[in-house]
């Protein structure tokens, strides 16, 4: 049986079938749990980019979809205190050294950055991963910055004449995070009226 001509392709086909089937099953079994865990992560990071006491509403329940610069919809979560909108939290991203870096930023109604956190990246362990708050305080350096402070030409890493530190051995990663945060602030500035509009999904 094993030395028949049809055996190897048949075996390969069966293995391919069995492996893909197990992947389909595993995907079905884990999809919901992964989505739930990621939603919890998102909720945690949404909370982290707002100073304590800045919002008293359920952020995930107060979202608006706004078309971003590249045509893709950006989900903006609104922070409220009582009836007033006190800020907006949304995801922005830029291409890093190894794939997209996703950053969640919180912006106050005055356009100042309340906080930024990297929620997903594939940068080099030990070099580029200093953008995580658990590994370095670097990301906290963005707090309080806005589009005019520092001025537009200073929105970059020090190597490019900007005000933000780069890391030893990794410039592309922090450069991408700076760009992501800056683009996020520009997005907020361009859509400020829509984001802060009263009513909506409150």
């Amino acid at each position: 049986m094993k030395d028949r001509l049809f055996y190897p392709p048949l075996l390969l086909g069966l293995i391919a079938l069995a492996t893909s089937a197990s992947l389909v099953l595993a995907n079905a079994a884990t999809r919901e749990r992964i989505a739930l865990a990621e939603r919890r992560d998102l909720q945690d990071s949404l909370g982290q980019v707002l100073p304590p006491g800045h919002a008293d509403n359920e952020l995930l329940a107060d979202a608006v979809e706004i078309a971003g610069a590249d045509g893709k919809a950006v989900t903006v979560y609104r922070a409220r205190k009582g009836r007033n909108v006190t800020g907006a939290v949304f995801r922005t991203s830029a291409r890093g050294y190894a794939g997209e870096i996703d950053v969640v930023i919180g912006v106050g109604t005055d356009g100042r950055l309340l906080g930024a956190r990297v929620v997903r990246h594939q940068e080099t362990p030990g070099l580029g991963d200093k953008i995580e708050v658990a590994r370095s305080k670097w990301i906290l350096g963005f707090d309080g910055k806005s589009l005019g402070d520092p001025p537009a030409e200073k929105w970059g890493v020090k190597k490019d004449g900007g005000v933000f530190d780069q890391f030893a051995g990794a410039t592309i990663t922090p450069r991408a995070v700076v760009r992501a945060v800056k683009e996020g602030l520009e997005f907020f500035a361009a859509h400020r009226a829509e984001i802060l509009a009263e009513g909506g999904a409150s």
């Binding site: 094993k2 030395d3 055996y7 190897p8 392709p9 075996l11 390969l12 293995i15 391919a16 492996t19 197990s22 992947l23 595993a26 995907n27 079994a29 884990t30 749990r33 992964i34 865990a37 992560d41 594939q122 080099t124 362990p125 030990g126 070099l127 991963d129 658990a134 590994r135 030893a168 051995g169």
Partner: protein, 212 residues
């Protein structure tokens, strides 16, 4: 093969990195610190044991012409399953180790053990071989990581608590506080330098052992 020979081969005589010179890509890429090396090593060990068991179990069914694609399909599936399962049930650990898991697919040591051991041996021995080879790999990448970390950033086991839990915070040591370290050691050339030096060290020990 006798169990003690399998263990000895895996940990020292046929060490994946220091004797077989396999898996150098992950051994260089993630060993910028001891904890990164340890994380990669443990994740690899888990996959290696599972893939050895699976391949030993079906070894009589696989015809030699297509064994390599069959092994690769099984290993890639296994890694993806581990990745999904960890993401779903051990989400906190996945956040730390997730980075390394995708890299395991390209670890030629796994295919190497499938081809040279598991495809010719019973399930039990293959499991032991996977465990020993995996721990040998863990030892090697942790050692490379620790040396690079010591000279590159002046710390040992920094951020161990992120990987192993807060109980292991006592492992974290700052050997040279306030120094920024030698950047070279963290960059890829440092990996080659440290690997070469450790390799020479192992040869020296082996020679002394046999020559005396």
């Amino acid at each position: 093969m006798k169990p003690d020979a399998i263990v000895r081969n895996g940990l020292w005589d046929q060490n994946v990195v220091f004797a077989q010179m396999l898996a150098l890509c992950p051994a260089m890429a993630v060993t910028t610190s001891g904890v990164n090396g340890l994380g990669m090593g443990l994740a690899t060990t888990a996959v290696l044991v599972a893939s050895n068991v699976l391949i030993a179990a079906i070894r009589r069914l696989v015809s030699p012409e297509v064994r390599i694609p069959v092994f690769i399909a099984l290993i890639a599936t296994l890694v993806t399953l581990v990745d999904m399962a960890m993401n779903a049930w051990l989400h906190e650990l996945h956040k730390v180790l997730g980075l390394f898991i995708a890299l395991i697919v390209v670890n030629c040591a796994i295919l190497g053990r499938a081809e040279s051991f598991a495809s010719k041996s019973p399930v039990g021995e293959s499991a032991l071989d996977g465990l020993a080879m995996g721990l040998g790999f863990t030892l090697a990448v942790t050692a490379i990581g620790l040396v690079r970390e010591l000279f590159g950033s002046g710390t040992l086991f920094a951020q161990a608590s992120l990987l192993l839990g807060p109980g292991f915070a006592f492992l974290e040591m700052t050997v040279a506080p306030g120094t920024s370290g030698m950047l070279l050691m963290v960059l890829p050339p440092g990996g080659f330098l440290v690997l070469g030096l450790l390799l020479a060290g192992k040869r020296l020990i082996d020679r002394r052992g046999s020559g005396a």
